[in-house]
């Protein structure tokens, strides 16, 4: 005879039904830190950077390697400010504000350093697709031509082979540059390292700050330091998953959609004629915001806003590159 049905043993208690939408725990309130920036008192929560304090006062501090969603690497040194009592200038993007600090953001010393940093970059890197940096160069009066005439581009792959500790002095009057042929080894995006300011953003995005793919790293040393895959193999032989998140964070256009690169080469790229439309990616259920850049009724590239909590500006290969299906007109 079959056992009669019994209630399950009471080790299991179903959780009560939620009465409200679960929210992340409230952030513990942080004590305030009071400091003085350019003679004005400002109060920021503990842990905020000097750049945050400047932003609160509405000060316009130039930045290149700083990105709102990433750990500061403070390598470009264009955001330096003068901190009373410090021997050298300090990078505002990473220096944590402390009570009692006295900071000047626009002293002669600060302006001189910023001008030189911009001058050094402009003399060694192609900034033609970095209008923000160009504007800063003009603002600070950078004169890159003081350092000599630009070195011709190095042959393909030559910079990738350079070894630390050995170099040649160029002809007198020639200023070394990172100029080299564009790397085009796949159909989705190109790497034009002539435009690379070595801000480390792509390495962070490919690594543990976004994608966790680790296909690229900084290699070499000194002026020959470069972004590279292992042994400089093409992307197609590397760990790259073509999410394009490195393009999303590149401040100079060194990493660029192939579509954009081709149109620029053909002279048809026209940002003023482009319309940006936000939509939601339909490939899966995550709900990433896509910003479609449309020119002549054709999608020319796809980005995602850095301030959306779902993507933080990051996408996957489908959202970023899988848009041809919507414009097959045949």
């Amino acid at each position: 005879m079959a056992e009669p049905f019994r209630e399950p043993p009471m080790w299991f208690h179903a959780p009560p039904r939620p009465t409200r939408v679960p929210m992340p725990p409230a952030e513990a309130s942080r004590p305030a830190v009071d400091l003085v920036v350019d003679g004005k008192a400002v109060s920021v929560p503990a842990g905020a950077t000097l750049l945050d304090a400047c932003a609160k006062l509405g000060l316009d501090i130039p930045t290149i390697c700083q990105h709102p969603n990433m750990t500061p690497v403070n390598v470009c040194r264009v955001c330096v400010v003068e901190l009373e009592g410090a021997r050298t200038l300090v990078p505002s993007c990473s220096r944590v504000a402390e009570s009692g600090m006295k900071v000047s953001t626009n002293s002669d010393r600060v302006r001189a350093s910023r001008r030189m940093v911009l001058e050094l970059l402009a003399s060694s890197v192609d900034l033609s697709t970095a209008p923000d940096i160009q504007r800063r160069c003009a603002e600070y009066g950078a004169r890159p031509e003081r350092h000599g005439s630009p070195e011709p581009a190095s042959p393909e792959g030559e910079r990738d082979q350079r070894v630390p500790g050995h170099h040649h002095l160029p002809e007198p009057g020639i200023a070394r540059r990172v100029a080299q042929p564009v790397k085009i080894d796949n159909d989705l995006y190109v790497r034009d390292y002539s435009k690379c300011v070595l801000c480390y953003k792509c390495v962070q995005a490919c690594g543990d700050e976004a994608q966790n793919t680790f296909a690229i790293s900084v290699a070499g040393r000194g002026f020959d330091a470069r972004i590279s895959t292992e042994n400089a193999v093409p992307l197609t032989d590397s760990a790259c998953v073509y999410c394009g998140n490195c393009i999303g964070v590149c401040p100079t256009g060194a990493l660029m959609f192939k579509s954009e690169h081709d149109m620029r080469q053909a002279g048809t790229w026209d940002e003023s004629a482009q319309k940006q439309t936000d939509t939601i990616c339909g490939y899966c259920g995550v709900g990433c915001t896509l910003t479609l850049h449309v020119q002549d009724n054709t999608i020319v590239k796809v980005t995602s806003p850095a301030d959306r909590e779902i993507t933080h500006g990051n996408l996957c290969i489908k959202g970023r590159f899988g848009y041809q299906s919507v414009q097959n007109k045949a």
Binding site: M116, G165, R221, T229, E230
Partner: protein
């Protein structure tokens, strides 16, 4: 971490070379052979273990380089799997160091010093001659090298041989013949006591007042017995009796400051770490001595290795650290062997390891070899190097005493600082503080090189003047006049003949706008083309910048180009404009670089231009502004 490794499979010998350092792999996940029975279908064996061993990356790369003479892609792929480090990052680290080669090389690698002390004393000619004698050789590769730290015997060369029994050694007073015979015989002139006696001229004079160098060239560096007989380990005994707080109090009372160049009070550093909240603390000895013209740390490690072991041990028990790392530059194979021997002997005698000398205190030392990068002498770059990252300096704050190696509170001291410690303990802090001047306490090692009769490491209580020191080193040979003296190395400053009366103290050198730095005193007589020296200094910083920050990465390059075009007689615009540009470069590097390399990359050049005008770059006749 899910990493993609696409490199070629390692050969058996490549696998063996790596596994010799890392031990056998636990599972297929960590680079071993797959064993379904043991691992199951989803292996979880060895993953987190592998990830926690990134600090073994540098030792693993060394093992491969020593075995094959280069880093074959298969071996690198195996290292990636074994340590779960993405291949791109392994490449990034390997390509950072000068002594790692990514292309196959010859059986013997000869590095000929072409830096400022050696180049005027036959270094450049030797390099040229070796290249002519061995063109495209399969047996020998010739490399020009930055300072090898054998400046007392300029010109210097370093021979490194790979194979199943790798070896290497330095050659002083090198000739092509001497280099070739070392390659053929596999034995090097640095083996005996004569080598050390040459390095420490005072060791030949029994009446010389030596404490730090007392044993160098006189005692057998391999003998713990000799060390103990000559007063060794009395300092540790006293420190064990006193305990942590009183030991630190002695060091504070001695007034000893860091001897690596930055001159930070040692006692204060120790005190900060001893009071850190984190109970896990570390001691690191910075033996990455690469400042051109500096060789004192090498001589101390080669000639008196137990003193450094004792100094580190005292530091460890004073701050409550159980572990110490000794980071020795890759160009010092003999120092590595001597230190390995000393650490082994100390362990066997119960002076390292658990329960030192029967006390309840444990401390042990691990050696790490650098691989040819000046920047790794910067303390935070050194931490990154040990941790298996690229040797790029970190941003300060936080400082090492709060957040150092592996994120732990860390005491990092130079070799010379640490060998002072047994002395401080033995003689008492007050006795050391009574020696020297008001601003500089105790004894100092000076690396005297260049145009003097007897170059070498000299030890004097602080207070000796530059002229006296040059006199002690036998003066300038052939009665030639001093043209200039470089104090503090490539990151230091030049002084002219009018400033020879400067006392070699921290405050004395500061008063004339120079620096004592690491104790370099390099003398140039009137035959030396100082413009060439300045060009080399500019090239040195161009080579050694890590490339992380813009002011230093591009600035050192622009500085070198500028010096080059003035020397070629082709300035852009007037000399005054070029001089202003040099000043601008100096200012941005000093003000906006991340670390000390950038801050000081212009200081020697600036000092020369200040003294003699920009014409000095062009070899113009010197007019001493101060005389």
């Amino acid at each position: 971490m899910d990493i993609v490794v696409r490199g070629p499979e390692p050969t058996d010998s490549e696998r063996l070379a790596v596994d010799a350092v890392l031990g056998p792999p636990v599972s297929a996940w960590a680079g071993g052979v797959r064993d379904l029975g043991r691992e199951g279908r989803i292996s979880l064996l060895g993953g987190s273990e592998a990830r926690s061993q990134r600090h073994l990356l540098l030792p693993a790369l060394h093992a491969v380089q020593d075995r094959f003479g280069w880093l074959p892609p298969g071996a690198l792929a195996h290292i990636s799997r074994r340590l779960t480090i993405p291949p791109a990052e392994v490449h990034g680290v390997a390509s950072f160091y000068q002594l790692f080669q990514l292309k196959p090389g010859a059986r013997s690698q000869v590095h000929v010093c072409e830096d400022i002390a050696c180049r005027h004393r036959g270094g450049l000619a030797l390099e040229r001659e070796l290249r002519e004698r061995h063109p495209g050789s399969e047996a020998v590769d010739i490399h020009g090298s930055p300072c090898l730290g054998v400046c007392e015997q300029a010109p210097a060369a370093l021979v490194l041989r790979h194979g199943e029994k790798p070896g290497g050694g330095a050659i002083g007073g090198a000739t092509a013949r001497a280099v070739e015979s070392a390659i053929e015989s596999g034995s090097y002139p640095d083996a005996g006591l004569d080598w050390l006696k040459w390095a420490v001229p005072q060791s030949l004079h029994p009446e010389a007042d030596l404490a730090l160098l007392a044993r160098v060239g006189r005692c057998d560096p391999a003998s713990l017995e000799d060390y103990r007989r000559s007063g060794g380990y009395l300092g540790l005994a006293k420190a064990l009796a006193l305990g942590s707080e009183a030991t630190i109090a002695e060091v504070v009372a001695s007034g000893i400051v860091g001897r690596g160049g930055a001159a930070f009070p040692t006692g204060r550093k120790w005190d900060a770490v001893a009071k850190a909240a984190d109970p896990e603390r570390l001691v690191v000895c910075n033996a990455d001595e690469s400042e051109p013209g500096t060789f004192k740390d090498r001589v101390v490690m080669e000639g008196d290795p137990f003193a450094l072991v004792e100094g580190m041990t005292i530091a460890g028990l004073a701050v409550g650290a159980r572990k110490g790392y000794l980071y020795i530059r890759g160009e010092y194979p003999l120092a590595v062997r001597r230190m390995e021997g000393a650490i082994k002997a100390a362990r066997a005698a119960g002076l390292l390891g658990d329960a030192i000398s029967g006390s309840g205190v444990s401390f042990d030392i691990e050696i790490r070899r650098g691989a040819g990068a000046y920047i790794c002498g910067e303390e935070t770059a050194l931490f990154n190097s040990i941790e298996g990252q690229r040797g790029e300096p970190r941003s300060k704050p936080p400082f090492p005493v709060q957040n150092g190696l592996f994120g732990k509170p860390t005491v990092i001291n130079n070799v010379e600082t640490l060998v002072n410690i047994p002395l401080v303990m033995r003689e008492g802090g007050a006795a050391i503080a009574a020696m020297g001047t008001t601003g500089s306490k105790g004894r100092k090692l000076f690396c005297v090189s260049g145009n003097v009769a007897r170059p070498g490491v000299y030890e004097f209580p602080f207070g000796i003047t530059l002229a006296e020191l040059i006199g002690k080193a036998g003066g300038v040979p052939d009665g030639r006049p001093v043209q200039a003296v470089l104090l503090g190395g490539a990151a230091g400053a030049f002084v002219g003949p009018a400033q020879l009366q400067v006392p070699l103290t921290f405050e004395g050198t500061r008063a004339i706008g120079a620096t004592l730095g690491s104790g370099v005193v390099m003398v140039f007589d009137d035959t030396v083309d100082l413009g060439d020296t300045l060009q080399r200094i500019a090239a040195f910083f161009r080579d050694e910048s890590c490339g992380q920050c813009v002011p230093c990465r591009v600035g050192t390059s622009r500085q070198e180009e500028l010096v080059g075009r003035i020397r070629a007689g082709k300035p852009l615009g007037s000399l005054a404009e070029e001089s202003a540009l040099l000043d601008d470069l100096a200012q941005v590097m000093r003000d906006a670089s991340i670390c000390g390399l950038g801050h000081t990359a212009s200081s020697a050049l600036q000092s020369a231009v200040r003294l003699w005008g920009p014409g000095i770059l062009n070899g113009a006749k010197l007019v001493d502004n101060h005389g």
